[in-house]
């Protein structure tokens, strides 16, 4: 142990411990071995060494848990019109004059409880974010694997498309997709599918990053000798790509996905703020901020501030987690 005042350059680590060996081969034994590896890993170690990351994780988990549990913990359901009291519109937060414990963070112009609206709004923001990240990830990883593994003209074609696409800002492409969808679909149909259109609009421009990363690591992995060994055994190239190359090329994808999640939430909020995102019947954080923005200069600042704070906390904590993950998985920075 270090003396007081002595700066531990490297926190003391014991020599690699032997995992507790017991009944190897049994399911339980394997499970224990896996759990032990997770506990003993460098990632957990670097996590516990970074207070900022721990705080970010706590904030992010709290927000995610709160939004998932919104129907249970929210004081009211902001979508249920019968519970909304128009007379309570513009109630300020509880600590201000005229505030009420019924509406801790105040109400908006229609008398909806802001706390409940934020919880439900975050739910929608997170759902759109996660879904569009998944969409972009599946698309990008698939195309990247194809480009890197097949090479030749397929690679050339896909990467030129990626080059062209990345020269447009993602928000512009999202606006375009959303606009086209609005133009093509009848109004009622569009209302029904608006959330999926948004997920597609936000996710579609995101594939490039995944594809480029996966393509790069695929091109490294496919020339490794274990891939060659599988070729010599006559394993089908598609099987090799999926079982050998893909799992080893996925490392950086988790990092990109985390940072992309923050960007996707922001993009959704931007679209909703601009009024082209989700319909007002499904208010996300961006929608709440836009509604509140109208009243910002008439003194009802809480309607826009609290959803804004929630958005900042969510995006910041997810982003910090992504940054940490990037460094933790980068062997050169250890």
């Amino acid at each position: 142990m270090t003396e007081p005042g002595e700066i531990p350059l490297e926190a003391p680590r014991e020599a690699p411990r032997e995992a507790p060996l017991e009944a190897p081969g049994t399911r339980l034994g394997r499970l224990r071995a896996t759990a032990w590896r997770a506990w003993d890993s460098d990632i957990l170690y670097s996590f516990l060494r970074s207070p900022v990351t721990i705080l970010a994780a706590v904030v992010a988990l709290t927000l995610v848990a709160a939004s998932l549990a919104a129907p249970m913990i929210a004081p009211t359901n902001p979508f249920a019109l019968e519970t909304v009291d128009l007379m309570a519109a513009f109630t300020p937060p509880v600590w201000m004059e005229g505030g009420s414990w019924d509406y801790v963070l105040g109400t908006d112009d229609q008398g909806r409880d802001l706390l409940s609206a934020i919880l439900y709004g975050m739910r929608i923001s997170l759902f759109v974010g996660v879904a569009s990240v998944l969409f972009a990830m599946v698309l990008g990883v698939g195309l990247g694997l194809l480009a890197g593994y097949a090479g030749g003209w397929i690679d050339g074609l896909l990467m030129r498309i990626a080059d062209v696409q990345i020269s447009f800002p993602a928000i512009l492409i999202a606006l375009l997709i959303d606009g086209v969808a609005r133009g093509l679909l009848p109004r009622e149909v569009h209302h029904e599918v608006a959330i999926w259109v948004i997920i597609f609009a936000i996710g579609a421009p995101g594939w490039v990053q995944y594809a480029r990363t996966v393509r790069g690591s695929t091109m490294v992995e496919k020339n490794r000798e274990y891939v060659m060994a599988a070729h010599i055994m006559g394993v089908h190239p598609v099987v090799i790509a999926l079982r050998h190359v893909l799992p080893n090329a996925m490392g950086p994808v988790l990092v990109i996905a985390t940072i992309h999640l923050a960007i996707a939430v922001i993009t959704e909020a931007t679209l909703s703020f601009l009024g082209v995102g989700l319909p007002p019947t499904e208010p996300s954080l961006g929608t709440l901020i836009r509604i509140g923005n109208d009243f910002l200069f008439s003194g009802e600042w809480w309607i826009t501030l609290f959803p804004g704070v929630a958005l900042v906390l969510l995006v910041l904590s997810v982003n910090l987690l992504g940054d940490w993950l990037r460094d933790a998985l980068n062997p050169k920075l250890r």
């Binding site: 081969g25 490794r224 274990y226 060659m228 599988a230 010599i232 080893n248």
Partner: protein
């Protein structure tokens, strides 16, 4: 083995059975600049002649070695043999069937089952995310040799113990093993489909010297036990001396000399072979006068005309720069491709 030669069995002149016969085996790689650069900048097509007309017989149950400096094409030969590369020209006959131009996966499957490869880098040759048991069972599953999970597990345990590891190592990941142990894993995987022919591409060059001997001994014991045929690709003459029965010396994609191991070390005939053997340090004569090998290997993109070695050969004559020598016995064991040997103007080896 039966006395009657089976159909398709090739016998060499001395009566030994030939497992693999290479005739005029050639591999050219197109390394031209992209089409646009060729059109706009007037650059020409470029072809890299990695292997250029190779004749070699690999005897069943013996070890044949290919030696040479890096870039001489020996690894390309190995990869053509295990069907990773398709030869540009020439014949590649394995156990009686010409597999050089066979591309159909289903037709290749029974042949691939009978040949395996051991790689140079034991850290890259095992999938880091797979457990050892799954890695070693991969050939069994790929060739559909067993279906029952219990049977596969028993076979994997057997293989692990065969190469000197423990049966329960099957549950561990490759990164939990040392370089030598990983090379044992690689050997266990290679043996899983009960092959006849193993191509060993620099099997020990990534290992510590103390571990090298263990791996080489293991390979030799396995050969004795299972009647395996080896092709060892290496630049390490010590490995060759220990393992090989027959040695082929390669230079710039061609063979300059093929001879039984004893004969080659006792009486190297080709000037390049002599230089290679010269460079091996000798503990008994540490101060002997050594001629350092002059010059670099010329680029295989633009090999010298005639004999490829004439630019570095101390006995080169005008004919060597003009005419490519053929690989001929010239009255000794094995064969040598050298005009000076043919004309008898080489001094006695070592002189």
């Amino acid at each position: 083995m039966s006395e009657e030669p089976r159909p398709g069995v090739i016998l060499a002149d001395d009566g030994t059975e030939v497992l693999v016969r290479l005739r005029g085996l050639t591999k050219h790689f197109d390394v031209s600049p992209p089409l646009l650069a060729r059109l706009l900048e007037g650059k020409r097509r470029r072809v890299l002649k990695a292997v250029d007309g190779l004749d070699l017989d690999i005897a069943r149950g013996r070890t044949t070695a290919l030696v040479g400096e890096s870039g001489c094409g020996k690894s390309t030969v190995a990869r053509m043999l295990v069907t990773l590369y398709e030869p540009t020209a020439g014949d590649l006959v394995f156990e009686g069937s010409d597999i050089g131009r066979l591309r159909d996966r289903r037709a290749l499957a029974p042949i691939r089952r009978r040949m395996q490869m051991i790689f140079q880098d034991p850290f890259a040759s095992l999938n880091p995310r797979w457990r050892v048991g799954r890695i070693i069972a991969e050939p069994i599953r790929a060739h559909g040799l067993m279906d029952d999970a219990g049977a596969i597990r028993r076979r994997v345990s057997e293989l692990l113990e065969h190469v000197g590891l423990r049966a329960h190592d099957a549950d561990r990941f490759p990164h939990e093993f040392s370089g030598g142990q990983r090379q044992r894993l690689s050997i266990a995987r290679a043996l899983a489909s009960s092959p006849h022919f193993l191509v060993c591409d620099e099997p020990t060059s990534a290992l510590d010297v103390s571990v090298q001997a263990q791996i080489l001994n293991l390979l030799r014991d396995l050969q004795r036990e299972l009647g395996l045929t080896y092709l060892v690709i290496t630049h390490d003459l010590a490995v060759v001396r220990f393992m090989a029965d027959t040695i082929g010396v390669m230079y710039l994609g061609r063979l300059c000399e093929v001879a039984p191991a004893d004969a080659l070390f006792a009486r190297p005939r080709h000037p390049y072979t002599r230089l290679l053997i010269e460079t091996v340090p000798d503990l008994r004569a540490p101060d002997r006068d050594r001629k350092p090998m002059a010059g670099e290997v010329p680029s295989p993109l633009d090999p010298p005309p005639g004999c490829a070695f004439h630019t570095r050969c101390p006995w080169a004559a005008a004919r060597c720069a003009r005419e490519r020598p053929a690989l001929l016995p010239h009255g000794g064991p094995g064969a040598v491709a050298c005009h000076a040997v043919e004309e008898g103007r080489l001094p006695a080896p070592g002189g």
